[in-house]
């Protein structure tokens, strides 16, 4: 799914239009714990998170997350936006919550991009 479609589905606003590269997003990951993201996310996913601090951007950079959606209208700081811009990571802000956005994206065909912990996928 193209990032532009994801932005539509989450009714999001792009916070650093400078890096609005229309990435192909290959899956979704919803989590608030960064260690969890580091543990399970596969490269090329969009990260939906209710957490909003500079470590989210760092985590995305380390784990090759393509784009970040901040939930419930959370506004990243200028510092975070600059860092993300430097690392080519689009930041998107949405007023919706985790449950609704995971639901909408999943139903729109964007599948989970987290490793299933027992190693099997249904």
């Amino acid at each position: 799914m193209k990032l532009s479609e994801i932005i539509k589905h989450v009714q999001g606003k792009v916070l650093n239009p400078d890096v609005l590269i229309d990435y192909e997003i290959i899956g979704g990951c919803g989590a608030d714990l960064m260690s969890d993201v580091l543990a399970v996310v596969k490269p090329g996913a969009v990260l939906l998170t209710g957490l909003c601090n500079v470590q989210v951007v760092r985590t995305a950079q380390m784990a090759d997350v393509r784009a970040i959606v901040f939930l419930r209208g959370k506004q990243p700081t200028r510092e975070m936006i600059d860092l993300a811009t430097q690392e080519n990571i689009p930041l998107i802000s949405s007023r919706k919550g985790m449950f609704e956005l995971c639901g909408r994206l999943y139903c729109a065909g964007l599948h989970s991009f987290e490793t299933n912990m027992n190693g099997t996928h249904e």
């Binding site: 193209k2 400078d18 890096v19 609005l20 590269i21 229309d22 990435y23 192909e24 290959i26 608030d32 714990l33 960064m34 260690s35 969890d36 993201v37 580091l38 543990a39 490269p43 998170t49 957490l51 601090n53 500079v54 470590q55 989210v56 760092r58 985590t59 950079q61 380390m62 784990a63 090759d64 510092e79 811009t85 690392e87 080519n88």
Partner: protein, 338 residues
């Protein structure tokens, strides 16, 4: 995956990417860096004001130019262009001296001025070619927009070549150095409780790995491992610690050391979900007791040396598989003749 980004953009008309933006910035920079004398044409076809308008026709036709400076005794006295020629033609006055038709208020640029000055003058005056003079107001060349474009392109190509050479050198770093054992060490000092800058060292490490030619997967594994280790130093240590990465042709060694407070029960710390992290760390999304578990899954070997009241040493090691050996190992691939 359906289409690549390039294909998608090829169809729809392409928005400006960061790469473009970078290049545009570079062109802007160059228009200030480059001096007019670096891009102007030095071959100037000038006429004297005593020559006739017929001479103008010959010069413009032969040289395929649309205007020329008029110089008397080394001094620039005017310019003559096709427009002036048209006037002479309509009056059937080709035998008159150039003096009669030339423009005398000559707009010039100085050879030592930056290229951007010429661009501004082009835009302001709508003139397509400008005479260039030196400090002594002597005519030394002509400049057109085409000259500027060419000059900028040459400069960019030079930039690009230099970058290529730099990349090549970095990637083949180890090939050119002969020793029994070569390694590159990156060392970072990590401050305690510095949550805002947390991850900066890891970010530098990941970027360095990619620059050295590591695969995306290898850079990611190392990045995640050192990031968790870096956050551990920030969250738990009394005085911070040192993060050190040693890159060798056959392996990556990563290590953190600190001077306390130490881990009383290392086995417990290795259990998923076990954590002593304070609220501050949890609110940053860390401290959920998954750090060491994550590290373990990213590296081939992990060891912790610690104890209550002692410092902690965390060792992480990744063995490089043959296809991951990124700094063109010298081991076993001795070049002939050495």
């Amino acid at each position: 995956m359906s289409n690549t980004i390039q294909e998608e953009f090829g169809r729809k008309g392409r928005p400006i990417t960061d790469v473009d933006a970078q290049e545009i910035t570079r062109i802007e920079e160059l228009s200030y860096d480059l001096r007019i004398f670096e891009v102007m044409s030095r071959e100037v076809f000038s006429l004297s004001s005593k020559q006739t308008m017929r001479d103008v026709i010959d010069l413009l036709r032969i040289r395929r130019i649309s205007g020329a400076p008029v110089v008397d005794d080394g001094e620039l006295v005017g310019v003559i262009s096709t427009e002036d020629l048209m006037r002479a033609l309509t009056q059937n006055d080709l035998e008159s001296p150039i003096r009669k038709y030339m423009a005398v208020n000559v707009i010039t640029v100085k050879s030592y001025e930056p290229v951007v000055k010429a661009l501004e003058t082009f835009t302001r005056t709508n003139i397509g070619r400008l005479p260039v003079t030196n400090e002594n107001d002597e005519l030394v060349g002509m400049i057109t927009k085409g000259d500027i474009t060419r000059g900028v392109l040459v400069a960019i190509r030079k930039d690009y070549k230099e970058e290529e050479i730099r990349r090549y050198r970095v990637r083949h770093l180890f090939e050119d150095i002969t020793s029994d054992r070569t390694s590159l060490t990156l060392r970072y000092k990590i401050k305690p409780r510095d949550f805002v800058n947390g991850g900066q060292a890891s970010s530098h490490i990941k970027r360095a790995m990619l620059r050295l030619g590591a695969t995306a997967q290898l850079a990611r594994q190392c990045g995640i491992a050192v990031y968790e280790a870096e956050m551990n130093l920030i969250i738990h240590t009394t005085n911070g610690g040192i993060l050190r990465v040693q890159i060798e042709p056959h392996r990556i060694l990563m290590q953190t050391t600190d001077d306390g407070p130490g881990i009383p029960d290392v086995n417990k710390a290795l259990q998923p979900g076990w954590s002593t992290a304070p609220q501050e760390a949890r609110s940053m999304g860390f401290g959920a007791g998954m750090g060491l578990v994550n590290i373990k899954s990213c590296v081939d070997k992990m060891e912790i040396f610690s104890g209550a009241g002692k410092g902690t040493r965390l060792m992480m090691e990744i063995h490089l598989r043959p296809n991951e050996k990124f700094m063109a190992s010298t081991e076993g691939t001795q070049k002939p003749g050495i």
